[in-house]
Each structure stands twice: as structure tokens, then as C-alpha cells.
Symmetry: C2
Subunit: 325 residues, 2 copies
DNA sequence: CTCTAATATGTAAGGGCTTACAAAGGAGAA
DNA sequence: TTCTCCTTTGTAAGCCCTTACATATTAGAG
């Protein structure tokens, strides 16, 4: 069943059918109704392929998704899909693991003919900028949760740097001066968090010590080992910030086992944080808002609207059991 | 840059270029090499739209994903995408929330022109069978985690029914005769679990009481309220099985608050289970294996291979803190 | 009842690829 | 050298739409 069949049944030309398909207003209502009726009757739906060929647009957005991210990201990707769908866009999903080549993923996605690209939940590093640039020359690229200054690349980010700086200030007020910062690698996003941490120290007139900025694998057991080692090495600390909830949680569990108690704060405010006992405090990066905003802005961009290349939304702290102590 | 440009640069016809593109063996090696070189040089990639139009295949699989599922499903969807990609297929993601019309989602997906459909993490009910049937008439449908007897619909399932029956038997051996079963609705999958539960009772010569089969919203607070109510109503139980980890976890937390301790077992063995203290026991449905198998079978099916309409893999129990007590 | 100006519809040319069929080229045999 | 018979390449007809442009219809004005 194609557009010709419909046209024939309605005794009109395919152009008229096509107009109806595209919501053109230059069709007499009676004609339109008849065509719509016949379409429905025959359960006709136009070939997205042919349409794509004709217009040059696939109405698909490629979503690049870091599959190693905290699983809290699952709802986020659903939100992205829903938002895109509301704007008439489909979601072509492409996952990338930490060990995979992000650049390759990006270029493959660009070659798939998507109209736009959304990069989400991603530990982007400097090296990825080139790939982003190339991809952006094919289709607008929207990055969630990082700040990348590349033409054609748009960013939506949550101000976690400031949030962490504020958190450090707060801890200082409570005489916590040796704050451990756990992160999971040199990504753009982590780098901002480290900056925030340093800013917090600087604002209080201190200098953050590198020995308390620790990189660790994002697995509970790795964090456990790490904390134990630090204790053995007599590295002193009186509070822990993790750049993800997973890291903070690992630390919390490790401390719990050794009978220690101190403020432990994670990032992302994932569902995990509320599931555990004691409940984990976490910096809320409003992943939902971030994702929805990103998807919406991308769609606007695709519709030819002028869109700001950088959008920030504020973060805040979800204070729970592991905060005041 | 299109196939004509490449053809011109190589001084061959587009047919030859197309043959190279499709890996036909009827091209002289020298010609092939030259064409490949020019393609690479120009960073050419064929239009998937045009290809789709030509062949009738989009090389896309529509993945229908229940966005309300436990977020443990996130890794699963990544696995699906990766498996499909290995087979040369792209993933068109479509999420559906509990309140949305699954049938509509299914038919929209079918109309998008995907070559196959994979239904995952889904609380399917009887009513969805019709939609599955319709969708299956357009493209093969693969359902993960349910057993649906509809032509054109393939299923891959984990034998949770048997696993739960076994679990109940085990609890009986430990003199637990009043096992609470928490589920989150009348889905095909839950129904099987309930059946398993009943089977377990029956095998021991008892009859399961409906008063201990409780439906509850899949939220921690709802479960908490539910358990409290049950205790107030003096419904006696000496063990809890949840059809998801979330449910079991909610029960565990509620019991903990009231100072009670008994075996609590969830389903799905999500990462959550190991993150909490005490660690949650869970029936492992091997979601990863399930997903990979489903994706692979679907691809085989798309390649015209004969595929069994129903595949089962065994479940087993991850025994943790909340099991032996 | 014309004539003009909208408005509604039709025609046909792409868009970039696949593929059946036709044609040309080359190798080996006679 | 000429004649088959493969092998390699080319031609052209789709695939199903969109859309610029041409044409037909209609409404309103005169």
C-alpha cells in the first residue's frame, strides 16, 4: 500500500495525497477528509525511507549514551526519548562503553543520517572534541552535562562545580577540613567537580591537597579497597564526596564496616541514594530537567531556531542521613 | 557526495559502486580497491534512506521498552543495542510508560518501517496480544520475559515460575509456611510468578492463600505503607517474596523499621540488591543473557532462519544476607 | 455572464540507492 | 586467429515520497 494506491482510490493525484500527509492547508476539506478516511481504512502509513529521501530529513535523533554510567540514567534516556517523540522525532540509540571508541561511535551515528545528535551521560574527555566537531558538521550536536566550546555543538549543563564549592564551604563551617574527593576518571565533568572542590577550599582560605583527590574504578568493591588502603596509609579525612552516588555509596559502606561515621555525599541523586540505609546525601544535578531541556533545545535547533550554545541550570543538595554528622 | 560522485571519480558505473557497497564478489579486486579508496578519501557513506527505499529494509530494529521498569534494566537495553549492532542492526528506541497505550506504541513502531521489533522489560497483559499480532504481521516480534502464543511473535523467557516454586519449597523446609508475595500488577510475567508460588505450596501439600498475594505500587513508600497495614491487620507472614527487587527492598526496609527479621527475596537480581545493607537475596533472571539471546534470535529470524518461537533459560537464586534467617 | 485572482489539483522531475538484464571484455580451446 | 563461455561492468527501471511549476477550478467583482 503506497501513495499511488491511496491516490487511485481517492481519484486524486499523489501530490494531493502528499499534501494531506504533510498537513498542507491548500487542500479542500472535503478532499482531505476523504483521503484521510481512505488512509485509515487501508491502515496506510507512508514510508519513512521514501520520505527521508525526498526531504533529506530522517526525523531521527541519534542518542549517544554511555552504557557504563550509573544505571540511574535509565529514566533519563526514557525522558529524552519521550521529549523527542513529542517533537515528532524518533530516537536512534547508540551506546558506548568506556573501552569503546567514542569518536567512531559519533561518526557512525552521524553517517546514519540522523538529523541531530544528543550526547548523554557521558564521560567526555578532551580527545573527543575533534570527533564532536566532525559530527557537528553533519548534524547539530547537543551535549548533556558538559561544557564544550566547539562550533555546532550545544551544551546543557548543571552547575555542579558551584554546588560542590558550596558543599565544601558548608563542611568547612562544620570544621571538616580534610574532605576526600572520589572521582572515576579525567572526564570534563569530573574536572569541573574537582574545580568546584578546589574553589571551596580556596574560598575558605585553604588549598586543597591532591592526596585527597582520588581516582577509583566505579565499582563498589574497588571503592571499598580504596578506602581501606587510605585508612591503612593513615590518610586522614573527615568527610567524603563522590562524583557519583556509586562512589559515595561504596565509601559509605566501607566506612560503615570499619565503624567510622562522617558526612558522605554523592552526585546525581540517583534512586539508589534513597534505597540504601542510611540514606545517601547527594548533589542533585536534575538529570531529568537536563535531559528534557537538552532534547527540547535540540529540536528547536533542528527547526532552524537560534539556540544558545550553552545553557546552565543550578544544582542543589539533597540532604539525607549521611549529611549531618 | 553520493554514489554518482564516487562512480565518476572511479570512472565506473554506479552499479559497480553499489556492488562494492554490498560486498558482491563479482567485482574485480583492482576495481574494488580503487572504489574503496575513493570512498574513504571522500569520507563517503551511503544514504541509509535511499538504501532502505531500494531494498525495502531499514536495518533498524524497534525496541519497545517499559520506562517504568526497575532501572536495573538500563544495562539490559545497552546489551540489546550492542548485540543488534554486532548484527548490523540499529536500535530505534521507543519507551512506554505504564499509563501509555502500549498498543499504539507497538503499531507506531511497526509503521516506522523497522525490520523487526523487540519488546523488553515489559508488563504485558492479555490485552496487548492483539496489538502484538498486528505488529507481527508487519515485522517479526520478539518478546523478552513473557510467553505469548501468537503467530509471528517469538519469546525468550527465564523460568522464574519454577525458580519461585523451588524457593517456596526451600522456605517450607525451613518451616516458613506463610510467605507473603508482593507483586505490582496483573501482567503476564507476574502471573507466572504467582503460579510458581502456588505450585510451591501445592508441591508441599498446602494451598496458597490469596490473602498473602498482595498487589502494590512499585514504589518504596507504597510498599512500606502496605507492609505496615498488613502488620496492623495482623496478617501473619514469616517470609516475603517480591516480584521485583524494588518491592522486596521496600518490604525489607519496612520490616527493619519495625524490628522484624525474616527471609526476604526479590526478583531480577538488580545491582540494587548488592548495594543495600543487608544485601538483598534475589532470583536472578539473567536479564543480560535473556536480552542478548533475544536480540540474536531476532536477527537470525530477520535473516530468514527458522527460529523456535519459544526459548526458556533457567533462573537461579542469588543467596545473600536476607535469605538465611 | 465575463474576467481576474485566488485556491485547489495535477504533472513530472528528482532524491540515492538496488538489481534484473544487457553488453562488453577476457581467457581458454579449437 | 576465431569462437565460446565466463567474468566484469553498464544501462535503466524501479523503490515511495516531496515539491516546483503548470494547469484547472472556483469565487467574487464588475
Amino acid at each position: 500500500m503506497n501513495i499511488y494506491d491511496i491516490a487511485k482510490q481517492c481519484e486524486v493525484s499523489i501530490a494531493t495525497v502528499s499534501r494531506v500527509l504533510n498537513g498542507s492547508d491548500k487542500v479542500r476539506p472535503a478532499t482531505r477528509d476523504k483521503i484521510l478516511a481512505v488512509m485509515k481504512e487501508n491502515n496506510y502509513s507512508p514510508s519513512s525511507m521514501a520520505r527521508g529521501l525526498g526531504t533529506g530529513y530522517t526525523r531521527m535523533v541519534g542518542v549517544l549514551w554511555d552504557s557504563d554510567t550509573d544505571s540511574h540514567f535509565a529514566p533519563a534516556i526514557a525522558l529524552i526519548e519521550q521529549t523527542l517523540r513529542q517533537q515528532g522525532m524518533s530516537t536512534l540509540l547508540r551506546t558506548v562503553s568506556a573501552t569503546e571508541d567514542k569518536q567512531k561511535a559519533l561518526s557512525e551515528l552521524a553517517q546514519q543520517g540522523v538529523d541531530g545528535i544528543l550526547v548523554a551521560g557521558f564521560g567526555l574527555t578532551d580527545e573527543d572534541e575533534a570527533a564532536l566537531y566532525t559530527a557537528a558538521s553533519r548534524a547539530p550536536v547537543m551535549v548533556v552535562g558538559a561544557n564544550i566550546n566547539v562550533p555546532g555543538v550545544y551544551c546543557v549543563q548543571c552547575d555542579e562545580r558551584r554546588a560542590i564549592a558550596g558543599l565544601v564551604a558548608d563542611l568547612f563551617l562544620r570544621q571538616r577540613r580534610n574532605i576526600l574527593l572520589l572521582h572515576d576518571g579525567d572526564t570534563l565533568s569530573n574536572r569541573e567537580k574537582v574545580e568546584g572542590y578546589r574553589e571551596g577550599y580556596a574560598a575558605a582560605g585553604y588549598t586543597a591537597e591532591d592526596s585527597r583527590i582520588i581516582q577509583v574504578e566505579p565499582r563498589l568493591d574497588a571503592v571499598n579497597t580504596c578506602i581501606k588502603q587510605l585508612l591503612m596509609q593513615r590518610v586522614s579525612f573527615d568527610a567524603v564526596i563522590g562524583t557519583t552516588d556509586m562512589l559515595a555509596l561504596g565509601a559509605q559502606k566501607a566506612l560503615q564496616r570499619t565503624g567510622l561515621s562522617m558526612p558522605v555525599i554523592g552526585c546525581n541523586n540517583s534512586p539508589l541514594a534513597q534505597c540504601v540505609t542510611p540514606e545517601l546525601s547527594s548533589i542533585d544535578n536534575h538529570a531529568e530537567t537536563l535531559c528534557v531541556t537538552a532534547a527540547e533545545l535540540l529540536c528547536r535547533c533542528l527547526q532552524g531556531e537560534e539556540v544558545s550554545p550553552y545553557t546552565v541550570i543550578p544544582a542543589d543538595l539533597a540532604e539525607r542521613d549521611t549529611f549531618r554528622r
